[in-house]
């Protein structure tokens, strides 16, 4: 019975499906029409409402009082864990239509005031996957079973709040955005394994196969294992962003921002149910022949890393702009490691009314590389790289942008509970966006 051990491991739980929209990366959804076209490289530009997210100091340089909205962002993300399930791939996919940014700025007194909301991370996963598994004994008899996964996960992070920026002098401005932070997650994860084996089948298997392997199976006619997991998570906090924009030389702009998220409350409710007829199963939740429930509630806070972003932009003419950013994230002990992302973007006006933008960026994992042979604390490490391209059309009072963001990366993961095995993991993300800006 060649796959039984493996299946037993599998059905004890594909644990790490509870990973968030993407807790392991910081740059999952690019915000703002112009910024998205530039690969999210906007710290030294930021002269429109999306600047409130990237560098609030830049909004004082907006060409006009402006309202901007990225109303249609369609995001598809596919994570493939190679050979995770008895030689078969396990694929998690998410697709969502997302209004990911809205912002409006208005000169107010000596400065510029604005208000915005941004959704920097979001996932809607709805998976109903039945995986046929071959558990045939080596004696030539065929035996197969199904492993069914029902997985629904909705996980959204929202930032919303006011901004204010002040022009200190003609070449220096400062700004602050005070976002309220909210993360809402609801996840339902069902795993069902049912083997069409009878006592006689088992006896036949036992006669020909390794006893130890078969021993992991059952002594009842119907062999099944079912787990249900429900997670509800509500996080609230604040995220201030301090920004400075400075012009050291004509046509050169430097930007720097400093931000962090302080969580004020965090409530996690976790309900688990397990029913199993597996003979030797003995975990906290799962025991042979028992139906067990476990409900845990957690209230507390968690720490977020400081983010320091710096950028430079060069405006050689009124039709060309080049920009580059580097964002450094401080690690948090035993939670995330220090890391950085870099990005670069270019904007070129084909005509007075059409602008082409392109960008490249990294979206590195904040987890350490996985160590083979041991159970890693964080089960995934995939560094991502992305590219963007967009086209904007301007009228006197508005602009419309279409663009595509492509993200790709390969790394490793440990998706099976209790197993030190590593799976090659591929992540592919495609975002198409259509955004609109209005001048007031």
């Amino acid at each position: 019975m060649k796959n039984l051990n493996y299946i037993v491991l599998l059905i004890i739980g594909i644990i790490n499906a509870s990973v968030s929209a993407d807790e392991y990366h910081y740059k999952d959804i690019l915000i703002g029409d112009r910024a998205a076209g530039l690969g999210g490289t906007y710290v030294a530009v930021s002269d429109d409402p999306s600047g409130m997210y990237y560098n609030p100091a830049g909004i004082v340089y907006a060409a006009s009082q402006k309202l901007s909205a990225s109303m249609n962002t369609y995001n598809i993300r596919k994570t493939t864990y190679k050979n995770a399930l008895a030689g078969k791939d396990w694929v998690r996919s998410s697709s969502l239509l997302l209004p990911n940014f809205f912002g409006v700025t208005q000169p107010l007194g000596v400065g510029t005031f604005g208000i915005s909301y941004a959704i920097p991370d979001s996932a809607i996963e709805d998976q109903d996957q039945t995986i046929p598994l071959d558990i045939s004994p080596n004696d030539g008899n065929n035996a197969t079973t199904d492993f069914t996964i029902n997985f629904n996960n909705q996980d959204n992070t929202y930032n919303a709040g006011p901004s204010f920026a002040l022009k200190i002098s003609k070449n220096l401005s400062m700004g602050i955005t005070l976002y309220g932070y909210t993360r809402i997650q609801e996840q339902i994860f069902n795993q069902v394994f049912e083997a069409p084996l009878s006592h006689n089948d088992i006896a036949a298997v036992e006669a020909t196969e390794t006893i130890a392997a078969v021993d992991a199976v059952v002594n009842t006619e119907d062999v099944y294992h079912m787990e249900n997991l429900y997670i509800s998570r509500k996080e609230y906090g604040i995220k201030p962003i301090f920004g400075i924009m400075y012009t050291p030389y004509e046509k050169i702009s430097l930007g720097i921002t400093f931000s962090n998220t302080w969580m004020l409350s965090n409530t996690i409710v976790r309900q688990e149910v397990c029913a199993s007829t597996l003979r030797n199963i003995n975990t906290t939740l799962c025991k042979q022949g028992e139906l067990n429930r476990l409900k845990t509630e957690f209230e507390g806070t968690r720490e977020f890393p400081w983010e320091l972003a710096t950028g430079i932009a060069y405006f050689p003419s009124n039709t060309l702009m080049l920009t580059s950013d580097i964002v450094i994230y401080k690690g948090i002990n035993a939670t995330t490691k220090p890391m950085f992302n870099i990005s670069a973007g270019i904007e070129y006006y084909l005509t007075k009314t059409f602008a082409l933008r392109a960008g490249g960026f990294t979206n590195n994992a904040n987890t350490p590389e996985l160590i083979p042979g041991v159970i890693n604390r964080y089960p995934e490490h995939v560094d991502l790289k992305g590219g963007t391209i967009s086209l904007s059309n301007f009228t006197r009072s508005s602009s419309l942008s279409f663009g595509v963001v492509l993200t790709k990366g390969t790394g490793e993961a440990q998706v099976l509970s209790g197993s030190p095995n590593l799976q090659v993991t591929e992540i592919l993300g495609i975002t198409a966006f259509m955004s609109a800006s209005h001048s007031l």
């Binding site: 220096l172 050291p248 046509k251 007075k352």
Partner: protein, 276 residues
């Protein structure tokens, strides 16, 4: 911690004291389309100006005298011939008020009070006041302040409104802007730079039309005498007359616009004495 703040403060102080550099390099080429004037813009300006004019007439009833109204219109139209705005039709009206003032709204609507005409002594002074109001229109002071512009009916703008879920900004802001424009004309007044600029345009128009370019100065000096000092200080609709006179003098001298053209005294007095 304090050391860090002090360091940051000193750094910002040092940076802010560096030589100032132009920041207009950030403007992208598409912003040039903002200044293009379309037919829709002109329609919007006229519609806006007509609405504001109607509100003004609600405050000040028109002075019902055809002869005097025709005369004011003739003088005004003569000035308009030399104005850069040949795309709109100017209308000149007299309103019944004891206040010395004149008003103009976008789209070519000019009002002058009966008391202002009574304060004048010749046609060139009437022309000077009308020219000043014409200048507010040709220089688009209200249009620019309230960003009055035509509806953008391009395909891009249409899709943008759908995507952004918003109405056309001009439509949304229209009523609000009318209220603010009436407040500007009756209480708040134009920006001082706009007033001073209109004086300069007015003098140029006087010269181009063949009126005495010193008429505006004469009229302003008479207004000073006719108006109590306290009232002038309280008036928000114009910068101090002294400042206006100084700036005007300087401009006329530097531009060689001290031209003693006809004043039209007899004609003015003949018409006004019979109709006011």
């Amino acid at each position: 911690m304090h050391t860090h703040f002090i360091f940051l403060f000193l750094l910002l102080l040092a940076i802010s004291s560096f030589p100032l550099l132009a920041d207009n390099f950030r403007l992208r080429v598409h912003t040039q389309t903002l200044s293009l004037l379309t037919e829709e813009d002109i329609h919007a300006e006229i519609h806006f100006g007509k609405t504001v004019a109607a509100r003004l007439l609600g405050q000040y009833p028109p002075y019902d005298n055809k002869a005097l109204t025709r005369y004011v219109n003739l003088v005004g139209q003569a000035l308009v011939l030399n104005s850069p705005r040949q795309d709109i039709t100017f209308h000149f009206s007299i309103v019944n008020s004891n206040t010395i003032n004149a008003y103009s709204t976008p789209g070519g609507y000019v009002f002058i009070t009966t008391q202002a005409i009574k304060t004048m002594q010749d046609e060139s002074e009437l022309a000077a006041v009308l020219a000043h109001e014409i200048a507010h229109i040709t220089e688009k002071h209200i249009v620019n302040e309230f960003k009055i512009k035509g509806k953008d009916d391009s395909i891009t703008s249409g899709i943008t409104r759908i995507v952004g879920g918003s109405k056309d900004s001009a439509t949304v802001a229209f009523q609000n802007a009318v209220d603010k424009a009436v407040d500007l004309l009756l209480s708040r007044g134009f920006k001082h730079d706009d007033e001073l600029g209109s004086d300069q345009v007015a003098v140029t128009l006087l010269a181009q039309t063949g009126y005495d370019t010193m008429a505006l100065e004469r009229y302003l000096r008479r207004v000073i005498k006719a108006t109590e000092e306290d009232d002038r200080k309280k008036s928000n609709t114009h910068p101090t007359t002294d400042l206006r006179l100084d700036t005007l003098n300087e401009y006329q001298k530097s531009s060689d616009l001290i031209l003693h053209f006809p004043q039209g005294k007899k004609r003015f007095q003949a018409i006004t004495s019979n109709n006011l």
